[in-house]
């Protein structure tokens, strides 16, 4: 703990945070207007997003430059590591809310409506029998069909698990100082991630097609299915972008065997996304 105290890098003022706040506000206000059906909403969203992207380029760019200028000592490095770990913990809890909803519906609400609670079934939802998956007693969204877990989802599981391995190979290569292997494994990981996304998009297309008719509106099953896989897919997208940035930085030689927090942070994130997928595969698709 706390080596080289005087050397802890404290940046002076930065204008990126306020740019970020402005961008975020424009984005969200735009989204709210959009949801309320106002025409200007979507334009504002785009503008806000642009400001946010600009902010991220600027902010991360500054951090990368400072890092390359060796302004960060090992204590700063440790702060970054702690920061990333706790951030991932917060993400875990975000997903926990949706998994909680899934379990609550499966263990409590659906069985209650479907007869586990005699009064409720008898007086309000007569004739509905508890089953999972379900779109509820009102057959919301109409009849639907399930996606076969052993088709695309299983393939996607394989892809993500493999990507977990390739990124570990990349890490080993980095530690050995073998840059070309590092770059190779990084791009392999990126490609696996992108392929996963491609399949996921294809699967959503299938689901929404007339044949399956499985949508967000398909009762509690559709809700939990799309919210969980959707937020996961969003995280994979973010992760893939981060992987691309890190791959480019690897090619530029930004990292060495001892000094590569950026790489590791993304690797952790990628593993987190991977583990969430396993939970999804088991509880959303399989069981």
């Amino acid at each position: 703990m706390s080596e080289a105290h005087g050397g802890y890098y404290v940046p002076h003022g930065s204008h990126w945070p306020i740019v970020g706040s402005i961008g975020l506000s424009i984005l969200l206000a735009g989204a709210a207007l959009f949801l309320n059906g106002s025409g200007t909403g979507s334009m504002m969203m785009l503008a806000g997003l642009a400001v946010l992207v600009f902010m991220m380029f600027g902010w991360f760019g500054t951090v990368i430059r400072e890092s390359e200028a060796h302004m960060y000592n090992s204590q700063v490095d440790k702060s970054f590591r702690w920061g990333m770990s706790w951030f991932i913990f917060s993400e875990v809890m975000f997903f926990a809310a949706f998994f909680g909803a899934l379990f609550y519906a499966r263990i409590y609400s659906v069985p209650w409506i479907g007869g586990g609670d005699p009064g409720t079934n008898e007086l309000l939802w007569k004739g509905f029998e508890s089953a999972w998956p379900t779109n509820g007693p009102a057959n919301l969204g109409g009849d639907y069909k399930l996606l076969d877990p052993w088709h695309i989802p299983a393939l996607n599981t394989l892809l993500l698990l493999t990507s977990g391995v390739t990124i570990t190979f990349a890490h080993w290569a980095l530690k050995k100082g073998n840059r070309s292997a590092l770059v190779l494994w990084m791009w392999a990981t990126v490609i696996l991630g992108a392929t996963f996304l491609g399949f996921q998009i294809y699967e959503y297309g299938e689901a929404y097609s007339e044949h399956y008719n499985l949508t967000l509106e398909s009762g509690i099953y559709g809700s939990t299915f799309f919210m969980l896989t959707g937020f996961h897919g969003f995280h994979v997208t973010v992760g893939t972008i981060m992987l691309i940035v890190i791959s480019l930085r690897c090619m530029k030689g930004h990292f060495d065997a001892h000094h590569h927090f950026g790489f590791e942070g993304v690797a952790w994130y990628w593993h987190f996304v991977d583990v969430v997928w396993l939970g999804l595969f088991i509880f959303v698709y399989l069981l």
Partner: protein
């Protein structure tokens, strides 16, 4: 319940003073929980008193030590600070003793809770449905079915008339139950969450749309017991009271018979045609008690929340669509489906009224037969 609208400041101050010392003395001043009229209410009351006293006792010990120290261990009195700062024995003691006290509270609480949640072997079941902002009561075996809404005049609410003793705690149709019988309520809601609560009966249960919750009570003494909706349910949450009238069995039976007779009369209404004037008069009544809460008496609504019906697209459009909207409501908005709440004649009347009131002047009438056909 008292009729006093004047302030009783001296009594109140005495009450305040007393309560700082003792809960029991204060009870006379209406400061304490009400003992209620059912066994469960009384159980809740005695548990309440038990815990209150335990807290008062612990408070006396803790605050006693604190004030003793504040008075005596002050620098101005020349106190010199001791330097002790831990004692394992003491710390273990004051972890274990509160724990034991809590166990002492948990035992009677558990017993009471188990008794309260036992809704089996009831003599009578009433299905209670909460709406924005009224209650519906369906006596599942007797076939009685009615709505119950606030009957306090607007003049009193807007301070244009003196408030009567039951201000805000009075309804047009109270729930009537027989004394000495275990009454089970199956509670649900139609739109948002409400909660059914009459303090004297000792129980409160949320009315959740799509689910049935159960509670029970058994009243010994005939009387009128008043309560209110206890879960925020929108604009008029403060204005959906509950009145329970407990009657002797014989009187209760008469009441049931009367209710059934009235229902028959209403059903007969739905089989005949009305004149425009009849529909308008009836429609205004229905509108005032069912629709005016949102769309306002003048039909102008509340901008942004409740659309104006005066000159509205639907109210001046085709009658069939207008009727369909009122019967089926609009999913995902506060506009409820009234098909299950109003009978054919009432629906016909209110639609006719809306189409012709406030200068809408469409001139057309909707007859109960049309409603029946649309069901």
């Amino acid at each position: 319940m008292s009729a006093r609208t004047n302030l009783r400041v001296p009594q109140v101050l005495t009450g305040l003073a007393l309560l700082s010392v003792a809960g029991i003395a204060a009870a006379e001043y209406g400061l304490n929980l009400r003992p209620g009229v059912t066994t469960i209410a009384q159980e809740a009351y005695s548990l309440h008193m038990l815990i209150l006293w335990v807290c008062v006792a612990i408070g006396i010990v803790v605050f006693g030590a604190m004030f003793y120290s504040i008075l005596n261990h002050r620098k101005s009195k020349g106190a010199v600070a001791a330097q002790f700062h831990e004692s394992t024995a003491v710390e273990i003691a004051w972890t274990i003793i509160p724990f034991l006290i809590l166990i002492g509270m948990a035992i009677p609480a558990t017993k009471a809770l188990i008794a309260m949640e036992d809704t089996s072997n009831s003599d009578l079941t009433i299905k209670v449905t909460g709406y924005q902002w009224k209650w519906q009561y369906e006596y599942l075996n007797e076939g009685v079915n009615f709505f119950s809404t606030l009957s306090t005049p607007k003049e009193e609410i807007f301070n244009r008339a003196d408030k009567n003793p039951d201000y805000l705690l009075e309804v047009d149709n109270p729930v009537v139950v027989p004394v000495g019988k275990k009454v089970r309520l199956s509670i649900t809601a139609n739109d948002v969450i409400h909660a059914w609560w009459v303090p004297d009966l000792g129980m409160k249960k949320d009315a959740i749309p799509g689910f049935i919750n159960e509670m029970w009570f058994n009243i010994d003494t005939p009387g009128t017991y008043r309560g209110q909706c206890a879960e925020l349910c929108g604009k008029d949450h403060g204005f959906m009271p509950i009145v329970v009238v407990a009657k002797e069995q014989a009187e209760y039976d008469t009441w049931v018979a009367d209710q059934l007779k009235m229902a028959d009369a209403a059903a007969a209404d739905s089989n005949r045609d009305f004149t425009m004037a009849e529909l308008m008069a009836r429609g205004e009544k229905v509108y005032t008690s069912n629709c005016a809460a949102c769309h306002q008496a003048n039909g102008e609504g509340v901008p942004g929340a409740f659309p104006a019906l005066k000159g509205g697209v639907i109210t001046t459009g085709p009658a069939a669509e207008h009727l369909a909207l009122v019967m089926n409501g609009k999913a995902g908005t506060a506009m409820a489906a009234f098909a299950g709440q109003l009978n054919d004649a009432d629906l016909a009347a209110v639609v006719t009224y809306e189409r012709n009131a406030w200068g809408n002047n469409k001139g057309d009438v909707v007859q109960p037969a049309a409603v029946k056909a649309a069901r």
